[in-house]
Symmetry: C2
């Protein structure tokens, strides 16, 4: 958690970086060093620069810029959720200072689909970049509109509807789209033509021959795009370590339907509110089995309302009801509750049910809870806690470990190989995933790729790939691409110092000591006061409290008698050091120490 | 994180419990309510009481008491590591207040094996219980001795060596042991005979026909014990949700040997220091391939030293060296480093290597790091972070996902069925695992068990199972069995209030405000001072700081002018409320607020 302060924002480096790793430096025009890949050959002329500003050091926060001459286009603008080590941080948005400095060149923003890790930073990005035009298809545009509305930005935004047949001319960029599958309907990949080369960006994708609402990915179209000659393929790595094929949504649907039919008691299904196709299917299975469906959780209600309006969800009238205690009083065999919280999020509807704190739903003997999701790394403990609590309340819990009631939306290894075969690029660049996933992706594709395929690992966000008439190479340039931390309403007003202070207090609390002394003589007027939080119960540990006070008094006298003219800052530092040492030795704890000195 | 204060200790309830769940109450002699299982039949006479005080709400902290008349024996006394939600807590030990009150009845403590979740609370338990005799086999006893030595308790302890042929008479208890397999050599199950019934406790176990050092589990002996007629089988649930058989340690050894042979560069293997058999094998494979072995990590060095002394580890002289920078300068093909830290522990040797902060080892291009372990839930993110950093330094990383370089030490479903078949108890009680694992265990065993088998779920630590001549039943009694939190050198001196204060500060920091006022008039002498930590950079947010000060001044004046005689406590509460509200509205954050008032 080192700290970089740039442009008035506080940035963080990912968790902890190896101490002897290179630090990114600022982009300098004209400062093009020869990279390994260029192998010494001349690399001049006008260049296309491809710059992932997010999505390389995380699963999330996806955003990529393409720059050619005085034209820039941006693909996606996502957020990521902060890991538990980012204490108190709600979410993270990308650093777009590079784009801000060139905002007059921005010709448009393209969105591949409507997930938050692709659209969730738009309220931050759009105003900063001078409100460039936005291009997205129906569902993504609907979700972008709701997001912007939350921040009162929907009126001013320039929103343009596109689909897989659209062709855009954005400055020197020719943009087209192609249909893929994913865990939200209407996901698209992007083709970008430039005077120096062609690029394909897969977005998040999988191949599903029997998706829930969508049509299957358009193999013909992808092959046709491949035949144009693609210089660079930027490709999803989320599941690159998983062998075989990702199962179809149809298999999940069949298993869910079969299970819903068999269960006699009340059914509660937790899933993602963006899995619109699956949720639509579940509602229809419920209807077939004479169950009413109650949506629980704000995003579930809102997304499904939008999906219905846009025609993505269709089910018989009267099946879906507002969540209410009615769901407790109706015959169990007539109730199905669809809820958010499948990741164990602390304030989610499922968590509240498991804690017995949900305003409408009381979990009870005979209930079956199905968790139609897989845990995102870091959420395992929270989910296990929920499952234990559901069992303690008498429910039976079915997870994806017990039967196939969830599939991922990301291509497994065999699908990645198919995308490679359809596009046949000159250069293959894994994106969307942490370093270890992308390294694994590279090893995997090398086992099947043409020997002459160039496979490039862009290690960090802000790395730059250059395409010129001479070919493709990794630049030695780095563009600023740290994380902007969002806590409450503040963007970037907390940084690593704030986080590390929180860390200290989270481990051992804080001890505030108040010293009253005469300014002239520096003698204490009375015993110091001690106020602590998160340290120990001083009430319980009166003895300890007395020890600390006595020790601190003595330290104060010693320090000031040795140096009668000691400055306030030095005195505070000395006191802090003394008190810290004492507590560390006495209790093996290291609370935050704040000495306050009041002179009379 | 509710709070119970009993006997001067602070106890916690597991994470969050459902709000309408029953709270445990104290054991009352004579207060025996009819349980479901007793089915109304008379249940009198002298009883055996089986009381797991730990190991039911966690994986870890295993301890079980058996009480018959005036005799008590204890099986294991383990610790558990605190989850990340237990801020600053180092580990957790069991609540033994029930045993403390009856310490004169304790006839002995038996230990099944030497893992910390079975012996790690001994330094806490032994002195509290009046130093009862300890029975364990060679390796466990060696590890218990080292643990006690750390706390200067080894001299006074009454340590007795037993083995699988020993027969103990401890009060009315007849105790014997039987050989099982586990991830540490020399693990044993326990047979306990009493006048009212026989009990078998499996300990942690698996069946391995080709273990690393041990002999295979003793099927003949277990069957012979089963033929005596067993009333209660207490059985390990850790892997009860995993189908099939747990693989043999021999398969891991073969894969490790093959991999070590193939790799030309330097090899770093991270594993558990208690996997003495596996580590012994790795050292021998290294020797065969002309590699020197460097042990890294204190527990690795100490455990292997003990293992060598006790004859559990045998390898050619001169193969193992002290860790030193020599491991960087020797030819890579002659170096193998065995390290702790396979769970991503923050101060472990592997973590320091990955961060580039290890004093001797520098990870570099060409290194292969093998993680011979599986992540314990909650550690996934830390491990992923390490893997990313190792890749960033140029290493290749092999995990158990890539090839079988780790197996668990706990029985899978088919092995549990075999144990059931060998013992054929009247009552089957899953232990060692969280509620959802034990519920799954019950469902699984019911699919194969005799219809008349009684399967009992003891929901919580402190639940009591009673055995009398009439049979077995779950008592409605509960024995105190909360968690004792250990932070630094203090046992139980922090409780849920301390933890919840840490939580608040970890999320939004702390704001201390100093008000200087005249005591009589309650008018402020000057503007209040503000000191914050983990809140925001007030330097950066001078404006915010001024706003808070102005608001706080105004609040102080208003409160005191409305009530000139307001007490200090009420004034502080009012100020805190006002400042909190202001900051919540302004920034959507909720730091800890401490107002301090200094009267002149």
């Amino acid at each position: 958690m080192e700290e970089k302060k740039k442009h008035g924002w506080f940035h963080r480096k990912k968790n902890k970086k190896p101490a002897h790793q290179h630090h990114p430096f600022h982009a300098k025009e004209g400062h093009h060093l020869q990279s390994h890949h260029s192998q010494g050959k001349h690399f001049g002329g006008k260049k296309l620069r491809i710059i992932p500003l997010g999505g390389l050091e995380e699963v999330g926060k996806n955003i990529m810029a393409l720059e050619y001459g005085h034209d820039i286009i941006i693909i996606d603008a996502g957020m990521s959720f902060a890991g538990p080590e980012m204490l108190g941080v709600d979410f993270i948005v990308p650093d777009i200072s590079y784009l801000e400095a060139r905002k007059h060149n921005i010709r448009g923003m393209l969105f591949t689909h409507g997930h938050l890790d692709h659209i969730g930073a738009i309220q931050y990005v759009l105003p900063k970049l001078g409100n460039p035009p936005v291009y997205a298809n129906k569902l993504a545009l609907g979700l972008i509109k709701s997001r912007l509305k939350e921040f009162s930005l929907d009126k001013s935004a320039k929103l343009h509807l596109v689909d897989e047949t659209s062709k855009l001319k954005l400055g020197d960029f020719n943009v087209e789209f192609f249909r893929v599958n994913h865990s939200i309907p209407n996901s698209m990949g992007v083709f970008i033509g430039t005077p120096v080369g062609n690029v394909v960006h897969t977005g998040d994708f999988k191949f599903d021959h029997s998706p829930a609402i969508d049509k299957p990915a358009d193999f013909q179209r992808i092959a046709e795009i491949g035949r144009r000659g693609i210089d660079v393929l930027m490709i999803d790595s989320t599941n690159a370590l998983k062998p075989g094929f990702c199962k179809s949504e149809a298999e999940v649907a069949a298993k869910l339907e079969e299970t819903i039919e068999k269960i006699k008691g009340r059914i509660i299904i937790a899933s993602f509110s963006s899995l619109i196709g699956r949720i639509n299917q579940i509602v229809n299975f419920a209807a077939k089995n004479n169950r009413k469906v109650f949506f629980s959780g704000r995003s579930m209600v809102e997304n499904m309302k939008l999906a219905e309006e846009l025609g993505y969800a269709t089910y018989p009238k009267g099946v879906v009801r507002k969540i209410s205690p009615q769901a407790n009083s109706m015959p169990p065999s007539q109730v199905l509750i669809l809820t958010t919280g499948a990741q164990g999020e602390s304030l989610s509807a499922l968590t509240r049910m498991a804690m017995g704190e949900h305003s409408s739903i009381k979990i009870r003997e005979g209930d079956t809870v199905m968790i139609s999701a897989s845990p995102i790394p870091g959420n395992e403990l929270a989910i296990v806690n929920i499952i234990n609590n559901l069992y303690a309340l008498g429910a039976k819990v079915i997870t994806n470990n017990d039967m196939d009631i969830h599939v991922s939306g990301h291509a497994h290894q065999e699908e990645l190989k198919i995308m490679y075969g359809l596009i046949k690029p000159k250069c293959y660049v894994p994106i969307h995933g942490e370093l270890y996933m992308r390294k694994g992706h590279i090893e995997m594709i090398k086992t099947v790729a043409d020997p002459q395929l160039m496979v490039t690992c862009l290690d960090n966000n802000g790395d730059v790939l250059e395409v010129s008439k001479q070919g493709v190479r990794k630049s030695k340039e780095k563009v600023p691409a740290s994380d902007i931390l969002v806590d409450g309403l503040g963007f970037g007003d907390i940084g690593s110092r704030v986080i590390s202070d929180r860390k200290i207090m989270s481990q051992d609390g804080i001890v505030v000591m108040l010293f009253h002394a005469y300014e002239e003589s520096k003698r204490l007027i009375s015993e110091p006061d001690i106020i602590s939080r998160g340290f120990l119960y001083l009430k319980e540990s009166e003895e300890m409290s007395q020890e600390v006070k006595q020790m601190a008094s003595k330290a104060f006298e010693q320090i000031t008698q040795q140096n009668r003219t000691i400055g306030l800052k030095d005195l505070k530092n000395e006191l802090e050091r003394n008190i810290s040492n004492f507590i560390r030795k006495r209790l093996r704890r290291e609370p935050m120490i704040i000495p306050i000195i009041m002179y009379a």
